[in-house]
Chain length 269, copies 2
């Protein structure tokens, strides 16, 4: 029914907030197959007029008015966009007035920099470097500096989760693979022994692990279902023996894995 | 004035949308030093009651009612949270009704999964693996598969930008360092020659580069201001000669660098 409907995410800066907002709202209308276009950096009247031309042409082509998720701040840009043939869902219009009343202070009406550079930004970049150099069991002597050490079998999602924790939250996340040689020893790898309080296990259904591994190494023993079953079972037994809780990430995104682990640990995000 | 004020970001799932929304809005009230607490995964009446207890205790301790940025969907949780002593800024309450009217369909009122797993998620994870294996000039034979190849001097921000492009947008981003040996040759490195249409330069002010390098290698020639000046100048001359545009990222975050490059290239995000 909404096949010929377009959603625009528009902003005078990166457009990331408008996209996040719009995506969350549209996820409540599951069946609707709505096209999505982001128009960022609309920071002048000329760019606003170009945007209105595009929005109106899209409305005409679709035969339906577009949805417009806006985080625009600049008054001269907002005025022009308000004339477009769209349903405008305006984040700042809805929320700024009650916030001004509550805080007893006017908002700056200046372009926001919620994705800008500051002290917390430097910490995030440092955390990214840490995650990269402590990926896959690299440089173990600096492991005690980690906030979190993710463990689990190869290709269960440790690396993207570590990078996301660093980029999004500035968390120092290392990761360390559990490999067949460890299972033979029937104990946590020696490098992990002193870090028990920071260890968080990931596990995954063997059928899904097989799919992921087969994309990289088709027809290998490494990717075979039999081997995946064996490794996952051994890793779970090892984590159980060591008293380390683990999360089944088979149907979870990195965002969900990362926020669940932070939630469980109580680390500040 | 708002030193004793707390903002809560609350959600029945990851809390990422509530955080993004709340941060954008609070960036409009720059001087206000507001404490921030995320309460994710509030998916039961019990958890909602615990949250209300915490919110009310905070209101009492602060002597001011907290701000509550909410993306809650579950009706039984929303009802309990509505009783808390806070200013509730409710994303779904504000926007779902106009969207239902416009789309002519009720919303699902089911917990949203805008950060879930799907076809685009698999592509994002594949892009992360690509960015990792094509960081810092690694595996050049697969460079033609890249959507974007970032070039610039060592430590100017190529790696975190590549990872962000992959994680957030599923863009295949490689990066390739411009090093003193390349400057001597006065031409683009051979591996980059066939990729001109995909090359995007980053540059940075030498004073900032010196700071960044000195954190890793203090008192080295590599981090000296003289050497940073030389490298940056040579890299800019090389990019100018090759007709490759470049971005001064000195005061930009990875989010800003990534979205600016996507905007300039017209790549779909």
């Amino acid at each position: 029914m909404n096949k010929n409907r377009t959603a625009f995410f528009i902003s005078d800066r990166t457009g990331l907030t408008a996209e996040t907002l719009g995506r969350s709202l549209l996820s409540q209308f599951d069946g609707s197959d709505i096209k999505r276009v982001t128009l960022p950096y609309l920071d002048s009247a000329d760019k606003a007029r170009d945007a209105v031309a595009l929005i109106n042409a899209t409305a005409h082509a679709d035969g339906r008015r577009p949805l417009l998720f806006s985080t625009l701040i600049l008054p001269e840009v907002r005025e022009i966009i308000a004339l477009s043939d769209a349903l405008i869902l305006d984040l700042f219009e809805m929320f700024i007035a009650p916030l001004e009343a509550e805080l007893g202070t006017p908002s700056s009406h200046a372009i926001g920099r919620s994705h800008g550079v500051g002290a917390s930004y430097a910490a995030r970049m440092d955390a990214v470097n840490y995650a990269l150099s402590h990926d896959d069991g690299g440089i173990t002597r600096e492991l005690p500096r980690a906030d979190i050490v993710l463990i689990g079998v190869s290709r269960c999602g440790k690396t993207p989760t570590s990078l996301y924790l660093a980029l999004q939250f500035g968390i120092y996340a290392a990761n360390y693979p559990l490999v067949p040689e460890d299972f033979a020893a029937e104990a946590l790898p020696a490098a992990l022994q002193p870090l028990r309080g920071k260890l968080h296990g990931l596990t995954i259904r063997p059928e899904r692990l097989q799919q992921i591994r087969a994309e990289r190494a088709p027809d290998s023993r490494y990717a075979s279902l039999e081997n995946c079953r064996h490794e996952v079972r051994q890793a779970e037994i090892m984590m159980q023996h060591a008293g380390i809780s683990y999360l089944d990430v088979t149907t979870m995104s990195v965002e969900e894995i990362a926020t669940t682990i932070l939630h469980q640990t109580g680390l500040k995000r």
